[in-house]
Amino acid sequence: MIAALKAHLPILLVAVPLFAAPLCALFRHPLFAWTVSMLVTAAAFAGSLCLLAMVMAGGPLSYYLGGWAPPWGIEFRLDAVNAIILVIVAGVGAVTMAYARASVGQEISRAAQPLFYTAMLLCLAGLMGVAATGDAFNLFVFLEISSLSSYVIIAMGAERDKRALTSAYTYLMMGTIGATFYVIGIGLIYTVTGTLNMADMAARIGELEQTRTIPVAFAFILVGLALKLAMYPLHLWLPNAYTYAPTVVTAFLAATSTKVAGYASLRFIYTVFAADFAFEERTLLFLFLPLGLVAMFASSAVAIFQSDVKRLLAYSSIAQVGYMVLGVSYGNVTGLSATILHLFNHALMKGGLFLAVGCVIFRTGSHSIDAFRGLGRQMPWTMAAFVIGGLALIGLPATVGFVSKWYLVLGAFERGWWPVALLIVASSLLAVIYIWRVVEIAYLQPAPAGVAVKEAPLSLLLPCWVLILACVVFGVYADPTVTIAETAAQSLFFDPGAGLPPMDGP
């Protein structure tokens, strides 16, 4: 039984949420829907950990659907990169789902709750699918599953603030344009290679580099994914979407959806188009490097002036995406490891921070920076979580942020880019400013008179602290995450795992 489960693990991670989602819609009961979702996400998390262990121990895995072996059928191909992304998505999914019970109970009407969980599970399945699949078109389908459901769950914030509707609309417009760009790129590659399997594409593209089609396809795919990734300057949909979505959704999407899009870009940049593809090298140098740097500074600077904490964190997310883009632009293994590490680490800290803000919203009903006055004393645990998450964002030692920054700077040194190294550390000082604005207001300003705010309930604090503690644990003991990230970077860089024998059925 266990062996059978293990053999089918790659597809189960996607299929189980996909199966559970209609159940939630069928039996329209909030508690039932939540229980199912909780069980499914917890199981998915366990499964993804198991998968990660399998990949780290035994190298890449391949699983194909139906009776069609790759490169014809849809293949799920897993190496360290996918596995770590799956862990992020499922882990954050499980934590936010635990948080959802109380938070969603307050923010979304009872009748809509089962449908909310349906959409949430669909989004999870979509994201897991994007991370797991080895088929370029299948990736598009999963991307759209996750995107469509995230438009829905963002729009559900309209019960509190009607601006959620317009932000979901904007996201829908830009997201669809991005997805369509991606499809164009895939179509172009298909015209010259005749395959949709990524590993197969990688093998065939080598000879075709000189044609004009391949660079064009590369550009289309990159722009499409960059839209989903909220890469500067294609980030315009993100701040509003994160600000007005329900808390759980913001935390979940901030920690996962941009990460998955980031993964997909990595997959295309390094696996499908090889790293020595000349056009790509130029793209990294002349596009990714400056854009990453601009994102780091411009978005952080904008974050400083926000009067809404959720929007502040949203802008900080764009800046953090800048770090990831920067890591990719080095074009070396250290930079790539830094990017993968930051994908993981940023999910932890941003998830934790948004959940902490969610606790404040739960008690005060507001995410304006004004609502934080005096909370240091009234909600000590929530604010302590916020401070630790903030320190991680700044990148102080003993937090995950430090680990990512270490490798990011190290990569810059390896590349010989001294000024870039200095710019990286300088940009994290901007994070000090925007985090400290909130900290000062929370701790050093008296609470508004006559308003008694209680500490958030345990069901909210616990999930929040799980992520925050993970920030510290993986900051103090970064050995495992760094090892995984380095393995992942190596496998992206040197060994795309071409010609991998498919996993046997039981």
Binding site: H8, A15, L18, F19, P22, G66
Partner: protein, 146 residues
């Protein structure tokens, strides 16, 4: 629309054949052009026509939103369920060969069930979209009256 006798009569006559055609497209998808997506839309079109001519409330009498949602979920479950069934029978996800003793028969059964799931879901979804959009107007008018 209650005054347009011709429309009502013709619509009544049309609904049946359209549904029949939908079923044909659905089950012929195995051998020729067709399949669940197309059949679902055609099937839904028949009912939407009925709803347009005979009023939304008439359509809702036998296809209420709640029912449609459940039907949609069931169609969806059928699809994913087949995938799980093949896995339980010893194959991979959606490997129809294992649905019957003979792989070719298995392929037949598999594609039939999958397309059925798709057809049901698509039909239900189209109807839901129609009813929700059309129903929105009724809801707002109702508010105005009150």
């Amino acid at each position: 629309m209650t005054h347009y006798l011709i429309l009502r009569v013709i619509a009544k006559l049309m609904v049946g054949p359209i549904m029949l055609f939908a079923l044909y497209v659905q089950f012929h998808g195995d051998f020729g052009p067709g399949g669940g997506f197309q059949a679902g839309v055609i099937f839904a079109a028949a009912l939407i026509l009925y709803g347009l001519v005979f009023d939304l409330t008439a359509l809702r009498r036998f296809a209420s939103l709640e029912l449609l949602c459940s039907v949609m979920a069931l169609g969806w479950l059928l699809y994913v369920g087949v995938g799980f069934a093949t896995m339980l029978l010893g194959g991979r996800f959606l490997d129809y060969d294992f649905l019957a003793a003979d792989p070719v028969a298995g392929q037949h059964i598999g594609i039939l069930l999958i397309e059925l799931g798709v057809g049901i879901t698509v039909a239900a979804t189209m109807l839901i979209i129609f009813e929700v959009y059309a129903g929105r107007k009724i809801a707002t008018e109702g508010e105005d009256d009150a």
